[in-house]
Every structure is written in structure tokens, then in C-alpha cells.
């Protein structure tokens, strides 16, 4: 049975439709990355899942219990860290966590043990007696996470858990999330893509209130290999030199030194041999991957036409959709590469975590 099952969820703010007909499921052991640009409806969806907002339409069931019919039981299975950690700054960490435990109806005798457990997991052992107001942002964030996992809920919903943390803390939090994912179902809501690639095993992209992409991480990784390589030579051959080589389907000059070539099978090895033989001065050979970032950008900034082409909601044939998606990415990749000048090269590297 799935931990969370959401069907046809709709949420209006006045006339504005923030979440438009979203359906998805979360099973035990899933770490679901919920991606989307700002204002896409991520937080609204999370608020609805946690019972903070009532949906305009649609159903949410948690562990098979309907959130609207039986909110108390359903909410007991959820740990929620909102965008802003809900901390009472005037309390100490211990007091705060004990209060949270009581709110979740944990037996008095078990409170100390559970608070200690949550503190150990979040690295808060030495801060129990300190006021939350005096803790650094990173530690406050950890207290927020401790609060969400305290009652060992079946589902943990984390809304941008690593915002404002330094790189070390981010790494620690990610490790923690990965560890928690072994026992709990986790929804990780973020717009930081490397985070999703690092810890999630499923990914969903939401844009303008609609789910525009859904895939497992392994699927995504498989798709990333495109058979394209970016190569750079000191003494550049012509495009013609390259395309006449065996196994090179397509070559394209990006700037004075760089080329994008599409090869078949292992013919890239052949390309290297030829390059050495002809003394072209090969100094860069990089698989061109369609990263999650690229998918994200394509789906959330592309003109509406592309998106609709890529994932039309009416299109129920999965195979078809995938092909369309592939085509859309291909186009987008080439377009973006064509547009790239030398000065944008650095930007691109930054954006593409896989490179």
C-alpha cells in the first residue's frame, strides 16, 4: 500500500489556480524529489499534504486514511518541516522537542527517549539546553528536522530543508535524509537540483501548478547518456574532417576549438585515435549529458508550446510521451548549445552538475 496517495488535487487562491489536478503516490522507501520553480505550487501542495490547507478539490490519503475524513489519524503519520521551521524561539531545544512530542500524543514515559533519539540523529546532542533563538540558522534548521522525525512518522515532508545552510551542513542534512529514507517515505521539496540528484530515488517536476515530469532516478540517469560528446582540439579540424569519420553521425562546431559530436557505439575511441594520429591536439572529451537541470529548465522555462508538446496531459500513452520528451530535450539541448558563446561557457558548467 502506498504511504501517500494523492488524486486530482486542486487548490485555488481566489481565481488563481495554484495547484492544478495533481495526482501521485509515495511508497515506503521512496525519497521523492519535488521540484519546481518559485511559485509553482510546491509549498501549497506540501501544506495540503500536511493538513495546513484544505484542498479545493481532490483527495489525499495517508497510509490509506483519508486526510479530510479523519485528519487526526492521518496527521499522526506525518512529520512536516515547513519552509520556515516552526520554532518557538524562546524555548530551549529540549523543551521544544518535548512539547512537539506531547502534541503528537507520545506517552510521557517515552518522551525523553524519543527526544534523545531525534537529537542524536540530527546532531543536536550538545545543544539541548540552549535557547533556540541563540542557535545558528543551520542548527535551527536541524531542530526543525528533529521536530519532523521525532514521532517516527511514516511520511516525512521536508520543504526546502537545506536553505541557508553552509556546504558542510548541507552534506550532513543530505546524509540524514538518505538515512531516514531507509525507513520512512520522504518528500523532499526543493529547487536545488543537485540535492535531488544526490538523495532522491524519484523525481517530480511541478510547473504552474501541474506535474510536468515524473521519473525514477535510475530512469533519469539512463536517459542522461545521449551518445553525444563535447570535444575540443587545439588545432581544430573542419567539421567535414569529423563527419567523414566512421561512426560519427553528426558534428557541429561550437566555437573555434569546441565541437559537439554524436557517435554510435564505441566509435568515440576511434575518434580519439584519429585525433592523436592527426595531431589535432585533443584536450577535452566530455560526455554530453542531459542533466536533471536541463530537464528542469526545459520544462519550466520553455515556451508553453514546447511543454505541451513534451508532456501533453491528454497523452496517456507512456511510450509516446517519453519519445516526445526525448525529442523536446534533444531540441532544447541543441538550441541552448547553439546559443552559447564562449562567455557563457562558464555559466553552463556551473549549471550542469554532471560536468
Amino acid at each position: 500500500m502506498s504511504l501517500i496517495s494523492v488524486s486530482n488535487l486542486v487548490r485555488y487562491y481566489g481565481n488563481h489556480c495554484a495547484v492544478d489536478n495533481i495526482s501521485f503516490e509515495l511508497s515506503a522507501g521512496d525519497i521523492l524529489g519535488f521540484l519546481g520553480p518559485n511559485g509553482a505550487g510546491k509549498s501549497t501542495t506540501m501544506q495540503m499534504l500536511s493538513g495546513n490547507l484544505a484542498p479545493s478539490e481532490g483527495e489525499i490519503s495517508i497510509n490509506g486514511i483519508d486526510l479530510l475524513d479523519d485528519p487526526r489519524q492521518a496527521k499522526a503519520a506525518i512529520g512536516y518541516l515547513p519552509e520556515i521551521p516552526p520554532l518557538y524561539k524562546e524555548m530551549t531545544v529540549d523543551e521544544y522537542l518535548a512539547y512537539c512530542a506531547r502534541l503528537h500524543r507520545i506517552e510521557n514515559s517515552a518522551i525523553n527517549e524519543m527526544v534523545d533519539q531525534a537529537k542524536t540523529r540530527c546532531g543536536l546532542m550538545d545543544t539541548g539546553k540552549r535557547l533556540i533563538a541563540n542557535l545558528s540558522k543551520g542548527f535551527q534548521q536541524r531542530v526543525g528536522i528533529a521536530q519532523a522525525i521525532l514521532h517516527s512518522p511514516d511520511v516525512i515532508i521536508l520543504d526546502e530543508p537545506t536553505v541557508g545552510l553552509d556546504p558542510n551542513q548541507i552534506r550532513e542534512i543530505r546524509q540524514l535524509i538518505a538515512e531516514l529514507g531507509k525507513e520512512h517515505g520522504i518528500i523532499l521539496c526543493t529547487h536545488i537540483l543537485p540535492e535531488v540528484q544526490a538523495v532522491c530515488n524519484r523525481v517530480q517536476i511541478i510547473n504552474q501548478g501541474q506535474l510536468v515530469y515524473e521519473s525514477s532516478m535510475s530512469e533519469l540517469l539512463r536517459k542522461q547518456a545521449t551518445g553525444s560528446y563535447e570535444v575540443a582540439f587545439l588545432r581544430s579540424p573542419t567539421v567535414g574532417n569529423l563527419t567523414c569519420l566512421e561512426g560519427i553521425h553528426h558534428a557541429e562546431q561550437l566555437d573555434e576549438h569546441r565541437f559537439l559530436v554524436t557517435t554510435a557505439g564505441s566509435s568515440v575511441e576511434y575518434l580519439v585515435k584519429v585525433a592523436v594520429k592527426n595531431d589535432w591536439g585533443l584536450f577535452k572529451l566530455m560526455p554530453h549529458e542531459r542533466s536533471l537541470e536541463q530537464i528542469f529548465i526545459d520544462l519550466t522555462t520553455g515556451d508553453d508550446e514546447t511543454i505541451e508538446d513534451a508532456v501533453s496531459p491528454e497523452n496517456t500513452d507512456e511510450q509516446n510521451t517519453e519519445e516526445d520528451l526525448d525529442a523536446a530535450y534533444e531540441n532544447a539541448v541543441y538550441e541552448s548549445l547553439e546559443e552559447q558563446g564562449d562567455e557563457q561557457q562558464n555559466d553552463n558548467k556551473k549549471q550542469d552538475p554532471a560536468s
Binding site: Q47, R72, R102
Partner: protein, 248 residues
């Protein structure tokens, strides 16, 4: 669960300087009035001794103190209730309560009883001053009890109204000002009626119902008034919090 929320509320009041300041200032002002009244009582004591059916110390000292306390609490109560829900909303801590397995009714009642616990303490401290007179004289304890009960009911009504207005906004100052405005309006409502009894404004005015109690008369009408007042505002608060989940 209600107790958990109420106790945290009480604790957090004492963790902020506001509660301490309010208690200290109120106590200072009231004790000044208390001593002034005792002074007045001493100065007219000889005349009183010659009068038949003369008012006693309870009427001349205790009742005025409670009366002035009630006016002062009209001004102070909005300051204490303003942050009940609005601050939680502003700090984002409301999410903690809303995503916990508790109902909105429990949240609202928890908040209400939290402030009531504080007010019990407040009223007890005010009651200590008249009670100290027991060392030297006899008091009409029935009258005193009626006055204290009246003060407590009045404060509970203030708390319920303050809680409701705090649930409407994310800004404590706005909650305080609107609560004060509402309470003041209810306080002065009967003056517009020109003292006519039976007028709807007279019935709605708080003063109509608190004055008899301070004088030692407990009417079931007045008890019902405060009961309805409190229940109405608590229900409005619950409704408001529920509506907020549905619409924004």
C-alpha cells in the same frame, strides 16, 4: 492536549518581559489606588460611625479597587491577548499545531485556557490586597467573592474577544488595537442609551453586567451574559481558523 497547549502558552508568557511588566505595572497602580482608598476610609471613618447602615470597608475600599482594576484590565488585556494566534501565524509556528494530530477546537481552547491560567494568577494577586485587610478588620467575604468572580468573568470575556481578533490577523499590534476598540465600545455602549434600561444597547454593554457583581449582586442574567460572550467568541475563533484552511 488542551492542557499541553495551555501550559506552553502560560510558560511563554512568563518567558517574555511583557507579562512581567504588565503584572508589575498593574500591581503598582492598583496598590496606589488601594492605599488612597484606605486613606479616604480613615478620614471619613468617624462620620461613618455615627451613620446608621453606613457602608463598610468592603464597599468603600474593595469595590473601588476592583472597579478600577476592571477598567485597567480593559486596557491591558488586549496587550496580553494580541499575540496568541497572530504571532504564531507570523512566526510560522501555527504550522506546527495545524500539522499535529490535534483539532482546531483543541488549539483554540488550549490558547484560551493558557491565557485564563495567567488571568487567574492576575486576579489572585489583585485579590491579595483586599484580603490583607483581614489582618486588621472584618470583610464582607461574600461581596469580595462576588467582585472577584465578576473580575474573573470579565477577564475571561476579554480573553475570548482578544483571541478571536488575534486569529484574524498576522500582526499583533493590529490585534491589540482592534481588541481594545471592541472592548471599549462594548464598555461605553450603554452611555448612548442614556441610562434607559431595557434598551438593547444597555443589555449588550459590559458595564451593565459587571457593575452589579462588583457591588456584590450576582444575577443569573449576568452569568449567562458572560457565558454567552465567551462561547460566542470561542466559536467564532474556531470558525475563523477552520475557514482559513479552506480559503485564503
Amino acid at each position: 492536549m488542551i492542557a499541553t497547549i495551555a501550559l506552553r502558552e502560560l510558560r511563554s508568557m512568563f518567558l517574555s518581559p511583557l507579562a512581567w511588566t504588565v503584572l508589575a505595572v498593574a500591581q503598582l497602580v492598583l496598590s496606589w489606588i488601594f492605599f488612597t482608598q484606605i486613606d479616604v476610609f480613615f478620614s471619613i471613618q468617624e462620620e461613618l460611625a455615627t451613620m446608621p447602615n453606613a457602608p463598610g470597608v468592603t464597599d468603600l475600599v474593595v469595590a473601588p479597587v476592583i472597579e478600577i482594576a476592571s477598567i485597567m484590565l480593559l486596557m491591558v488585556s488586549p496587550l496580553l491577548t494580541m499575540r496568541l494566534i497572530s504571532e504564531e501565524r507570523r512566526n510560522g509556528t501555527l504550522g506546527l499545531l495545524l500539522s499535529a494530530p490535534i483539532s482546531i477546537t483543541e488549539i483554540v481552547l488550549g490558547k484560551f485556557f493558557g491565557i485564563i491560567l495567567f488571568y487567574i494568577l492576575f486576579v489572585a494577586m489583585i485579590a491579595l490586597m483586599p484580603l490583607s485587610l483581614l489582618i486588621g478588620t472584618d470583610l464582607d467575604l461574600g461581596k469580595l467573592a462576588a467582585g472577584i468572580l465578576g473580575l474573573f468573568l470579565l477577564l475571561s470575556a476579554f480573553a475570548a474577544a482578544g483571541l478571536f481578533l488575534s486569529s484574524l490577523t498576522a500582526n499583533p499590534v493590529i490585534a491589540a488595537i482592534s481588541t481594545f476598540g471592541l472592548l471599549l465600545l462594548l464598555w461605553i455602549l450603554d452611555s448612548s442609551a442614556g441610562g434607559e434600561s431595557g434598551n438593547v444597547f444597555t443589555y449588550l454593554a459590559i458595564t451593565t453586567h459587571i457593575t452589579p457583581m462588583i457591588r456584590g449582586i450576582i444575577n443569573s442574567v449576568d452569568l449567562a451574559y458572560f457565558g454567552l460572550f465567551i462561547v460566542t467568541f470561542l466559536l467564532l475563533t474556531i470558525r475563523q481558523m477552520d475557514a482559513e484552511r479552506l480559503q485564503q
